[in-house]
Subunit: 231 residues, 2 copies
Amino acid sequence: MTLKLYELVGTDEARPFSPFCWRTRMALAHKGLTAASIPWRFTEKALIAPHGAEKVPVLLHGDKPVVDSWVIANFLEDAFADAPSLFGGEGGRAVMRMLNWWGDIAVVGGIFPLVVADIPAHLDERDAAYFRASREARLGKPLEEVAAGRDKGVVGFRKSLDPLRLTLKTQPYLGGVAPNYADYIVFGGFQWARAVSPFKLLEAEDPVYAWREKLLDAFDGLARKSPGFAV
Amino acid sequence: MTLKLYELVGTDEARPFSPFCWRTRMALAHKGLTAASIPWRFTEKALIAPHGAEKVPVLLHGDKPVVDSWVIANFLEDAFADAPSLFGGEGGRAVMRMLNWWGDIAVVGGIFPLVVADIPAHLDERDAAYFRASREARLGKPLEEVAAGRDKGVVGFRKSLDPLRLTLKTQPYLGGVAPNYADYIVFGGFQWARAVSPFKLLEAEDPVYAWREKLLDAFDGLARKSPGFAV
């Protein structure tokens, strides 16, 4: 059965940048699977609506659409049960539901104001206009004004990573001795930032930086080879 | 082999209140184990020093001391492997290391300024003096001043529970369909607050409130029966 993945891109079709799509890309690689990429842009809602989706990632397994990165991870774990586990058992799956929310709120939500102003430059005119209008409505201020506070904001973001940082003192990955979906949940946010922004999220001496480096190298450098800024 | 647990108390020996000791109490109950409680007070450092400990919980398995709530949880999981699992497998164990830090920082750390001023009233004169001096040094201000900001501070604390709250929308416990150590990590903080302070941490309509109620009732009401405020 073929696998296809709708992934968010901008003007460069080879530069996928959604944090949620990157969770899925890493999960596919973990399972030893390849999916044909279908580039998708913010304003192409009509392309995925037939699959019951409003956002990406959308995975097509043959004709069957699987929507939402968390649902996709669960689908991959169950449909490809003989491949390396994403969750490390049912206890891992259950607790990762919470880690996934932490990743959405603390990591993706924390990075958002730090990189948001750099995103329109990667988009064509129509997507850029949509992105700016929708995000400025959400933020209640112009993107440039959000960006102006990022040198100060990044301090709080780095501090918010303490639960991750402290965990890495006693184990190399959130998943334990090897990375699993727990790591991809968090890494997706960093890979999104790397694709769209030269802003320095982490200091080089931060254990989180070293952890990110290892994930950039994972799967034969899957993430590092994807276009991005050296940060 | 007998089990004994050093637990933090104040003037009432039957009112253990450490968030970390409560993690262990719940873990013991989960494993179907009982441990004789050894009441311990803040200034009784000399009692646990021979066990290589500076803080509680300290579990004695026969003569063998096991120190630190996370280490104890791992010990119980491995030494009593046939009893119900605390982690739900190795994936759960690995990811719970991070959840444990999140519990320390967001939950215990978040509750601390909200209840700290209520703690000295539960302590004898010597412990109260030690507690006030050490905590005021850490906080950089008098306990009463910390407490004065709690009506405002609790709003941010409640918001910080969003990863837990959102998880409870799709599963009854952090551990999945039944509670496990993931739940006890977080619950320990609430049970600490309940033992020492009448301050209202949660609103009754909060899904976290309903989750806490279920854990208060777990193991035949182990936590609810322990002396505390109705909050």
